[in-house]
């Protein structure tokens, strides 16, 4: 029974991690511009992240190492430096985007410009990390995150043509704006397959003291949780297609356009629900990425780490998240457009994927770490596919970043 509760909590938690400003913004843009045509990208991204999260959890439960720990140990410091720097940079941008997401929600709610909210939001995030425990943060974010289900409810209430939705699940070539189409596909994949999701998950497994008895729970949480998160993303896309697209708003370039998604469905409550969803999803993600930055550095250099310790006991760990939150608030405070930053960082996330996914191929097949629980054929095929996808995305996203349907 205890396991069952833990599994359901875990599922809800992974939703909190999955849905953040990146998946909301990319799904909304894709839906507005291309209707249901890009649903396949969300599905593909979700399947990939299920595999990676399952492996990260299995690895941590069996070997008692996080993925980051093991990359340093197995590949050495010089090779570790590249994924470390790339992930720190991508996390910095994504965290900035998340802070921007909360700041926008605060602007919608109060009418005070988003720049003014960046530092208060960063401070609030920091305060929770400073005082809270891992379980508190994990579960608090999870339960509040359920509000994002309003997108699924809205999607069902709009009575979409389900056949058309199903047709969108199959990749197809765009009828117009090819570069923009592929750029959005890349951004959606980047938003779904975020490295911070699986590196955070493996740290969480250590924080929650997982062992081999958790392997079943791990599988359930990874599979159901990410599916759940993907469903909400699809919900956002459907709502964007049926509300924004149908009203002739095909280009979502401005974050002000986003709350209009839910208003025709729920009226004033639609506005409130959108603001709440955006704020909570982004706030949760900012918390997780803040922690992840500290995990990355502490695990990479072998310092003491753990969110359940008092800041006095791991000053370096706390120092890292304090500093990274402060830095991440700066671009938003300076008035950088959060939506542009989000889209940019999602494409960059996709480009950084090979650096963090290639090690999976080695680590999950290394008997000295995972023993008999090493990858089977299917998991290995999935990793190889994700690596190949990652390489293509990396090569493609940079020129698309530049042209991006300009």
């Amino acid at each position: 029974m205890k396991k069952l509760i833990e599994i359901s909590l875990g599922i809800v938690t992974s939703v909190g991690g999955f849905l953040e400003v990146g998946s909301m913004a990319t799904a909304a843009q894709a839906g507005a511009t291309f209707g249901f045509q890009l649903i396949w990208a969300i599905l593909l991204g979700t399947i990939c992240i299920i595999f990676l999260v399952e492996m990260a959890g299995r690895f941590a439960a069996v070997s008692h190492h996080t993925i980051i720990d093991a990359i340093r140990e197995r590949f050495g410091f010089n090779a570790f430096l590249w994924p470390l720097l790339a992930t720190l940079l991508v996390n910095f941008l994504v965290m900035s985007a998340e802070i921007g997401g909360v700041a926008i929600a605060a602007e919608f709610a109060t009418g005070i410009g988003f720049q003014w909210w960046a530092l208060p939001v960063a401070f609030l995030t920091w305060l929770l990390l400073w005082k809270g425990t891992f379980g508190f943060i994990e579960k608090g974010v999870a339960i509040l995150g359920l509000v994002t289900l309003c997108f699924v409810v809205a999607a069902v209430m709009l009575k979409p043509d389900w056949e058309a939705v199903a047709a969108g699940a199959i990749p197809s070539l765009p009828g117009h704006d090819a570069a923009n189409y592929w750029f959005m596909a890349v951004s959606i994949l980047g938003a779904s397959i975020s490295p911070y999701l699986f590196t955070f998950y493996s740290s969480g497994a250590i924080e929650d003291k997982w062992d081999k008895t958790y392997l079943g729970a791990n599988r359930a949480i990874a599979g159901l949780g990410m599916t759940f998160g993907g469903t909400i993303s699809v919900g956002v896309l459907i709502v964007a297609a049926l509300v924004l697209g149908a009203h002739g708003i095909n280009q979502v370039e401005d974050y002000h356009q986003l709350p209009l998604m839910l208003i025709p469905v729920f009226g004033f409550w639609g506005f409130v629900l959108f603001v709440a969803s955006l704020a909570i999803a982004c706030f949760g993600a900012a918390l997780e990425i803040g922690l992840q930055q500290a995990y990355l550095v502490a695990q990479g250099f072998g310092w003491t780490w753990g969110e359940d310790l008092k800041p006095r006991q791991d000053p370096a760990f706390c120092g890292v998240y304090t500093l990274s939150l402060l830095l991440a608030a700066i671009p938003i405070t300076l008035g950088l457009d959060p939506l542009k930053l989000t889209i940019f960082s999602m494409a960059l996330t996709a480009a950084s994927l090979p650096l963090t996914v290639v090690p999976f191929l080695f680590l999950l097949n290394d008997e000295r770490y995972v023993g008999e629980h090493r990858n089977g054929v299917i998991s290995n095929a999935a990793v190889i596919f994700i690596i190949a996808l990652g390489f293509v995305l990396a090569v493609v996203s940079i020129p698309l970043q530049i042209f991006g349907g300009s």
Binding site: N78, W303, P315, G319
Partner: protein, 119 residues
Amino acid sequence: MDLLRDLLDKQVVDRNQVKIGKVDGVVAELRPGRPPRVLAIELGSITLARRLGARPGRWMAWLAKTLGGKRHAEPHHIGWNKVRDVGVDIDVDIDVRRTAIFDWQDWLRDHVIGRIPGA
């Protein structure tokens, strides 16, 4: 035992199971006519910087000396005779509080983190 695989870059924990760093380097003594003998494991940013190249190494050594004084001009050494166990982690028979390894973390705690309410 394979040095690069089983020793280098592994987690080091002290007598009280405190994580004190990774095995950033391994020092060996060259002896004429006899195989090289491992003297100590090395920890610290200077060792890491040296692995990236001679110039980063010099910069880091200068930085460490400027910030931390003479005590930090050289990487931290833990003699091989102090290494108790080489497994998932490397267990060493020292107490990190009696070394200079965590000086900077202590400084951070006393001067920054500890001064913030609620630490």
